[in-house]
């Protein structure tokens, strides 16, 4: 069949773009509609290279993995992006943190939307990381050779929860203060290293040298606690989590995906 005018036009335009020096400088391959170029697009792109060039057809079934791991990662990216925006306006000072959040809600363009998205994405990430873990368990995907990636996953689960929890304090409202107070009460009860925990007295643990003091930087949830949680929430944990995700993804590539043949 003879190609229509529009088809010929689009072919010509594609050729014009993909044969240009600029395109070649950036992508190093033609438009990915041939086998060779489809290999190269994955092979030469740092982001796409997270994937293998070819996957087994079974692994493509959404029914198998529910996209849960991928969506967890996506929510992490959304959180990073919206979090960055929030950081422009938020100062971890007990005298102004609450007002900064109020400003985000009322005067800053898209401030409220960004805050809402940050919040809901956080809930979604916690939920999806559970879903993902459940899927990995039910498909037995932690069995050799993937044992260690399951362990990395559990660490990621813990980090996800702690990330959510540290973020909870930042708005410095009643909800924040008291949720962290409940949490730190539990820390206080840690055996051996918490002042209210078993064996604390015998070991000479006091309110000013126990694990809760280390967590809060004091004996109450105050300015030092806010600063600690801020640094942990915005810098330390996202960095560590990103490193562990890198390991997680790297190992999936090296071990192969466990999906059906």
């Amino acid at each position: 069949m003879k190609k229509s005018f529009l088809d010929r036009l689009s072919d010509r335009l594609t050729e014009l773009v993909t044969e240009s020096q600029i395109w070649k400088a950036i992508f190093r391959h033609g438009f990915p509609d041939t086998d060779v170029n489809r290999s190269l697009v994955v092979f030469t792109n740092v982001f796409l290279h997270l994937h293998p060039v070819k996957v087994r057809k079974g692994a493509l079934k959404v029914r198998f993995a529910w996209c849960a791991g991928g969506l967890t990662f996506f929510f992490f990216l959304v959180l990073t992006f919206t979090g960055l925006f929030l950081m422009f306006y938020y100062v971890p000072d007990t005298r102004r943190a609450y007002n900064d959040i109020k400003d985000l809600q009322t005067v800053i363009f898209f401030g409220n939307l960004t805050r809402d998205m940050h919040r809901w994405a956080a809930h979604a990430m916690v939920f999806f990381v559970w879903l993902h873990m459940m899927r990995v368990f039910l498909t037995g995907s932690y069995k050799p050779p993937r044992e260690f990636n399951w362990v990395v996953g559990v660490l990621l689960l813990v980090m996800t929860l702690v990330l959510s929890w540290t973020g909870y304090l930042l708005p410095w409202d009643q909800l924040a203060l008291w949720a962290i107070t409940v949490g730190s009460k539990m820390a206080e009860a840690t055996p051996l290293i918490g002042v209210a925990g078993p064996f604390a007295k015998e070991l000479g643990i006091t309110p000013s040298n126990d694990i809760r003091f280390m967590l809060l930087g004091g004996t109450i949830v105050g300015q030092s606690a806010l600063l600690r949680f801020y640094v942990i929430h915005c810098i330390a944990l996202p960095l560590v989590a990103a490193i562990f995700m890198t390991i997680h993804f790297w190992r999936i590539r090296k071990d192969g995906f466990s999906g059906p043949l």
């Binding site: 929510f75 069995k143 409940v182």
Partner: protein, 279 residues
């Protein structure tokens, strides 16, 4: 023919002396996916990339819709002079907070979560059943799936209770109750197991305390022994270390609903009291 193919390969992947690596050529043949022809595989681009793109777009739309419709809460400025009632942690920790009703904080907030994490970490090392890897199957791994589902159910039931059924003073509220009205403090008095034993059996304080220790130790001892005797194959397959780890974690997990049951049915506060801690 062969020569022609070689020239195309050469044209597609020009050699570059300055590079230490390169894509050499595409060949037809079996891949490292053992004994499978390449026909069973599909190119990642566009097949997988499309799925990812679509799910990512759906997620974005849903997230945007929820954010436009429902807003993140912000309450009054933090202050220590007023305490919210009830004081609830974020939902994903409410299971642990609910456990505080039945256990002391060092157990509910620290030791049990630690056991959960350790339990999760060791799963691949204690589940040595080679079957059921890479596909859904219940019949090939009944014990593993049942145990995991039980733990998961426990976790989520406690969360549901914490989120939807706990109101003022952490009392039990049904959805149709008036959530603004305080409930009268519960009339039952909780009693320690050791006191209960004293009253029922008429034994002394010291004896009954030791009896509770023995009961608790007995729970684990009997739990360890029964499968050891009745399911020799189970023990033999796992070996000494794995078996003890599995049984310890399993019995500890079952201990949680057991204590909840004892509390709800027999009003028992602690099953074991020591000078340092209470369980």
């Amino acid at each position: 023919m062969a020569e022609k193919e070689q020239t195309t390969a050469f044209e597609i992947f020009p050699k570059d002396r300055k590079k230490t690596y390169g894509l050499m050529e595409l060949v037809k043949g079996t891949t490292s996916h053992i004994e499978k022809e390449p026909e069973d595989t599909a190119f990642c681009w566009p097949n997988l990339v499309y799925i990812e793109l679509i799910s990512l777009l759906i997620a974005t739309i849903v997230l945007l819709a929820i954010s436009l419709y429902s807003h993140a809460p912000l309450e009054e400025l933090a202050g220590s002079d007023t305490t919210p009632n009830p004081m609830k942690a974020p939902w994903y920790f409410l299971g642990l907070q609910e456990l505080l009703v039945f256990f002391d904080p060092w157990l509910a907030g620290v030791v049990l979560p630690t056991f959960i994490i350790i339990g999760l970490v060791v799963i691949p090392f204690i589940d040595i059943n080679p079957k059921g890897s890479g596909y859904y199957s219940f019949s090939e791994r009944k014990f593993a799936v049942t145990t995991f589902a039980f733990g998961l159910a426990l976790w989520w039931i406690l969360i549901v209770v914490g989120v939807w059924l706990r109101g003022l003073d952490w009392q039990w509220y049904w959805p149709w109750d008036d959530w603004r009205e305080h409930k009268p403090p519960s009339a039952v008095t909780l009693i320690d197991l050791e006191l209960l034993l004293q009253n029922i059996l008429g034994i002394g304080e010291q004896v009954s305390r030791i009896a509770t220790y023995l009961l608790c130790a007995g729970y684990y001892a009997i739990g360890f022994t029964i499968p050891f005797i009745l399911f020799r194959k189970f023990y033999k397959q796992l070996g000494f270390v794995r078996y003890n780890l599995v049984m310890f974690l399993f019995l500890s997990m079952m201990g949680v609903p057991l204590k909840i049951f004892l509390r709800l049915m027999m009003n028992i506060k602690y099953v074991m009291v020591t000078p340092w801690f209470k369980i």
